[in-house]
């Protein structure tokens, strides 16, 4: 049964993905995790701070999930995105797609993320890593 869910969550997402029950129709489950990288435009950062326009962000993600289910004939899509501070190495976005065959799920993942980056009202602000001078309390 086709199922589209989307949520904006406070802070980093749990990077453990548990598939308690998988129905016997889905042969492929693709999970995509977006992880905060240590550099943003070449500068070292400590974290990203995400701002979302609620409830439009969830609404757009849910609409994209429903759209992708139609376009790619996948069985279900669940999307989660962080709001607020997410440190380097932590997870800010998770997408889980179940489908009969793998190709649809991989294609749907690519399409969903592309569209999210265009349409979902979510913004990030880099939190710079302190410079060594600040860490040590004195210039080196």
């Amino acid at each position: 049964m086709a199922c589209a869910v989307a949520h904006i969550m406070d802070g980093p997402l749990n990077p453990s993905v548990t598939h308690g029950h998988m129905d016997g129709g889905a042969g492929a489950v693709v999970t995509f995790l977006g992880v905060v990288r240590s550099e943003e435009h070449g500068a070292r950062i400590d974290a990203l701070e995400y701002t979302t326009y609620d409830p439009m962000a969830e609404r757009i993600l849910r609409a994209l999930a429903a759209d992708a289910i139609e376009r790619f004939s996948v069985r279900s899509i669940a999307a989660e995105h962080s709001r607020g501070r997410v440190a380097v190495g932590e997870c800010s976005f998770r997408l889980t797609i179940a489908s009969v065959h793998r190709r649809e799920a991989l294609d749907a993942a690519d399409w969903f993320i592309e569209r999210m980056k265009r349409d979902a009202p979510i913004w990030k602000r880099p939190i710079p890593a302190p410079s060594p001078a600040v860490i040590d309390g004195a210039a080196i």
Partner: protein
């Protein structure tokens, strides 16, 4: 009509605030009218505003979408989720 417009991300940073009130000549302005009025009122934000879309009641609006009193109006610039 006076329209309160929500701002986010780089646009909010540029404006130094989370919302702006704009005046349109039309009594029932379209989304395009609101964006044009905003651009006139904030010439410093002109280049950012060219890449913007208006959202009305949490959905992207066409240029022709009519704005009614009580609608929640937001300018959505370049987003950066993921």
């Amino acid at each position: 009509m006076r329209v309160e417009v929500l701002l986010f991300g780089p646009l909010a940073d540029a404006a130094g605030r989370d919302s702006l009130s704009v005046n349109t000549d039309a009594t029932q302005p379209t989304a395009r009218d609101v964006l044009d009025a905003l651009t006139q009122a904030q010439p410093a934000m002109r280049s950012m505003l060219t890449a913007c879309r208006l959202a009305v009641n949490h959905a992207f609006a066409d240029d022709a979408t009519l704005i009614r009193a009580g609608d929640e109006v937001a300018v959505i610039g370049l987003v950066s989720g993921g």
